[in-house]
């Protein structure tokens, strides 16, 4: 049953997201695109773009969107797509809800826990690798169709890294460039 699979997948994603929305993208990519092949690499990149431009945390946005698309791609009607959205969003938030609530209740005990601290500092480099892997996987011929794509990548990199332009502005400019080049 697809809804159970969706729930289980996003529950896992929510539980193993350390290091924020970008790290979550790596998990979603592996589960949804590589393993289940519910969504194409192209479609996935588009969903990240839309999630980043929309209000709210990127992880919640992409879960909502992917929940919808997975059911839609299987050919179900709209109300079921909305149920898919709800399932994925609920499942992705549930683990952090349980864990954070538990921490909130035991707060003072937790702050001093040396194991907790060591796991966190140990995970940090792995998270950097996770996000890097998400980017490497997306550098495929579907997303980079020709040399001009690499020019756009370079320009976006410079504007985000050194000019520190707003990411939404960068995405919009990328869209305008796409329209000018390809239509």
């Amino acid at each position: 049953m697809i809804f159970f699979q969706l729930f289980y997948t996003f529950f896992l994603i929510g539980m193993f997201t350390v290091g924020g929305g970008m790290a979550m993208i790596s998990l979603i990519q592996h589960q949804v695109v590589v393993q289940h092949q519910w969504i194409s690499m192209n479609g996935f990149t588009d969903i990240i773009a839309i999630s980043q431009m929309s209000p709210g945390p990127i992880g919640v946005n992409s879960a909502t969107y992917i929940g919808y698309s997975v059911i839609h791609n299987l050919g179900y009607a709209k109300p079921l797509c909305i149920l898919g959205s709800f399932t994925a969003t609920f499942a992705v938030v549930l683990p952090s809800f349980l864990i954070v609530l538990w921490i909130a209740i035991l707060f003072t005990k937790f702050k001093k826990n040396i194991w907790f601290k060591s796991i966190l500092s140990g995970l940090r480099p792995a998270v950097i690798g996770l996000i890097g892997a998400a980017a490497v996987i997306l550098m495929n011929p579907e997303n980079f169709i020709e040399w001009k794509s690499w020019v756009l990548f370079g320009l976006a990199f410079i504007s985000a890294k050194w000019i520190k332009a707003n990411p939404i502005l960068i995405i919009i400019l990328g869209g305008i460039a796409g329209i000018l080049i390809y239509s």
Binding site: V18, T45, Q52, S54, P55, Y68, I128, P167, A177, I181
Partner: protein, 184 residues
Amino acid sequence: MYWKIFTSFAKIGAFTIGGGYAMIPLIEREVVTKNHWIDSDEFLDMLAVAQSAPGLLAVNISIFAGYKIKGVKGSIIATIGSVLPSFIFILLVAAFFTNFRDNKIVASAFKGIRPVIVALIVVPMINMAIRSKLTWFTASIAIAALILISFLGVSPIWVLLATALGAVSITWYKGYKQSKKNIK
């Protein structure tokens, strides 16, 4: 009271674009400055926990702050409040965009957007690497994780579990050595 919690967190959810870190000042204003639900020291502690617990920063802060304000019920309401606006917004976009994806102009816009998105993932990764002052050892963990996931197709979950296990055993070993020294 519950309604006030809901609207405060809905406002936070609706007006943040660009992810969790952009949300922090907004949350601080609603929870600390305006409503005095939590004092600023507590807010900083909360931030540290929210950052380190699994899940998304903004959602985690909402869960924690909601609990501080009004217990488990407050936590549920704050979480729903912070997620609901983006949920509705994305639902509308998803319903709308699936019909427009085949539009020629939209399709060419996305051809330009896709490489840009990859750059927007690479840059925070580099910033994170610089901020965490990688040593040779931690850098090799990062590179190993990258290779395992992207080229060998290993699930990120296994990579995280293995690293956590490694971190715990190193801490245990250090503690063990320390206690031996103390006995001598």
